[in-house]
């Protein structure tokens, strides 16, 4: 930080408009334009179309059918609610699990730090789908987890697979690294001498944590929760593979509307609404917590 400031103040050269930065962001802007803005506008146009006939084979006609939105929402608000509920719970659990791990890696792990980093990233070498499918076996009725929990009477229901518990557990597992890594980077930046100084001033450990470490790690907490919550709420693999009929999330509905029913307007309306809701939530969250020192 300080280096950057120095270099800025130390360079009062002649003021000339430098084109290089603009040229450098051009590919990025172009990419976003073609692969984000265009598809998004098609999505918007599609979400307002009306069916040309009875069957999806007849296709859809351009229209301005806003009722696509209201009818889709009226029909599928439970799945919306469930998506945010499950991913919200998973995000909180992820934070609780990830913080101690990241803390340990940043301050205590020393020579094991790199090993731990590798271990945290290692699951990414197997496909997301495969890992989630593996949970099916782990949580299965004859599997170890269920039989152990059953033998000590700790199982609330008679099964884990195809329950909301399994969906939340799957989401937590799959998105945990996205929480650990940003937390680790912001914790690792903290100068340990600050904590020592707090100790020298007779600050008890809990106060040292809440007054020094936690505030300084907030950027990591914010980016970690965003990186977990946003993809988790749109996820449909976990609900599809680990959940029952009553655990379906909005992603499942969108995929089924697109692929099984070919009801493109409803699917697009749902996607669009979902994006808008996420955008508003993220905006409020960031406004409340501030973006200044977001990593």
């Amino acid at each position: 930080m300080s280096i950057v400031q120095e270099s800025i103040t130390a360079k009062p050269k002649k003021r000339r408009i430098n084109r290089t930065p603009y040229l450098l962001i051009l590919p990025g802007i172009g990419w976003l334009f073609i692969f984000f803005l265009f598809p998004l506008s098609t999505l918007l146009a599609t979400s307002l179309q009306k069916p040309a006939g009875i069957s999806p084979d007849d296709g859809y006609l351009p229209a301005f059918k806003v009722s696509n939105y209201s009818s889709a929402l009226a029909e599928y608000y439970p799945q919306f609610f469930r998506a945010f509920l499950y991913s919200g719970i998973a995000t909180v659990i992820c934070l609780l699990l990830a913080y101690p791990i990241a803390y340990y890696m940043a301050f205590r792990a020393r020579k094991y730090r790199n090993l731990m980093l590798v271990l945290i990233v290692a699951p990414f070498f197997a496909s997301f789908l495969l890992r989630t499918n593996a949970w099916k076996t782990i949580l299965s009725g004859d599997g170890l987890v269920v039989s152990v929990l059953n033998s000590i009477n700790l199982l609330p229901q008679d099964r884990i697979l195809n329950t909301s518990l399994a969906v939340v557990a799957g989401l937590t597992y799959n998105f945990l690294p996205f929480m650990i890594l940003p937390l680790y980077t912001s914790l690792e930046k903290i100068d340990p001498r600050l904590i020592e100084a707090a100790g020298d001033l007779y600050s008890p450990p809990s106060q040292r944590f809440w007054k020094v470490v936690w505030p300084l790690s907030l950027p990591g907490v914010i980016s970690g929760t965003l990186l977990t919550f946003i993809p988790a709420s749109g996820d449909y693999i976990n609900a599809e593979l680990l959940g029952s009929i009553k655990d379906k999330m909005i992603g499942n509905v969108i995929q089924s509307q697109f692929i099984d029913l070919r009801d493109y307007p409803t699917a697009s309306a749902l996607s669009f609404t979902f994006m808008a809701v996420i955008l508003v939530m993220v905006y409020l969250y960031i406004r409340k917590s501030g973006t200044d020192n977001l990593v």
Partner: protein, 402 residues
Amino acid sequence: MNKEEKLQDIPAEIRPFLTRRRVLQAGAIGGAAAVAAACGAGGSTNDGSAPAAETVDKSETDKKVVWSNWPLYMPVDENTKAYTELDAFTAETGIAVEYLEDYNDNNEFYAKQKPLLDKGEPLGRDIVSPTDWMAALWIKNGFALELDQANIPNIANLNDAYKNPSWDPGRKFSLPWQSGFAGMGWNKAKLKAALGTDKLTSMDQFFDPKLKGQVVVLSELRDTIPLILSWQGNDPTQFGDAEFQQAIDYLQTKVDDGHIQAFTGNEYATALENGDVIAVIGWSGDLGQLGPDFSFDLPETGGSIFVDQMLIPAGAEHKANAEKLMNYFYDPAVAARVAAYVQYISPVKGAAEELMKTDPALAENPLIFPPDELLKRAYSAMTFTSEQAAKYNDAWAKLIGN
């Protein structure tokens, strides 16, 4: 929305322009479609007649054929993991087979390929394997090429029962690959522990409260619904909205009270093996492949029968090769080996006799060579009007939680 879906948004007037002058790469076509859509032209209607694909058959010069089939539907050598029959075909004809197990779901495959078919673009596949009702839709929409039966002399071995389906009389466009039942499958030991018997014979047993939360049902509407309809005393081959609604309402109560754990495709086999469920509505061949701890039967009130087809999609570049491949699998000896492995019903005459020579026990398996008594209880899905299809698919999707 992916590229293919956007392609469908290209208005009919500019489609020929795009196909004839392929100046744009695939990605750019997506962009062009987006422009078209953004300009407010983003509607698509089926003009009824799909553009006839004017693809030249490259069979003579390019000795290959590409086949999209369902998973676990072709004999595999346990040691080498090679497709023995496809290798034998290549050895015999010099035509290499690219075999894709990417046909997982009738609706999904159709939804993904339709934008290409609408435009008359080749799918990169020479044989696809839709189930009968879906094959009917392909043929109706002009997405299948007419077979040159001169290339398929073995068509004479087609079982009489399959010769004239209503949607393809005379088998001009399609040939059956394998056929099978959808009925009840169960874990014998677990069923005995729960119900005191190791045999399921009726849907009443299937919905016995003792099995609550321990059953899984096929997510394929046309496979599951005949079991419920016939059990409720309705005719699965001829029913209306009221009868359909009655079946859906009943299933809904079973979803609400937690009796049905999930609706799945092939995954129910894993759930059975892992002990997650006791009984399923599943496919006969899968249960056959699971081994002696599991069993399969049609409910006494009736189950369903499906026939998966081989079609040559419009735009196929190796049509003659595809026909030769079909011909190869209509040889009774080959058909017998396939049936012995996949444990589904072979549509080929003489396969039973061939199998009798090599594996008599299997040749007497009623699920592979079904007796008339069993066939009488097996209903094939009624052909829906497009109005019915839209309405029923929608109701079904809601039932299964989507």
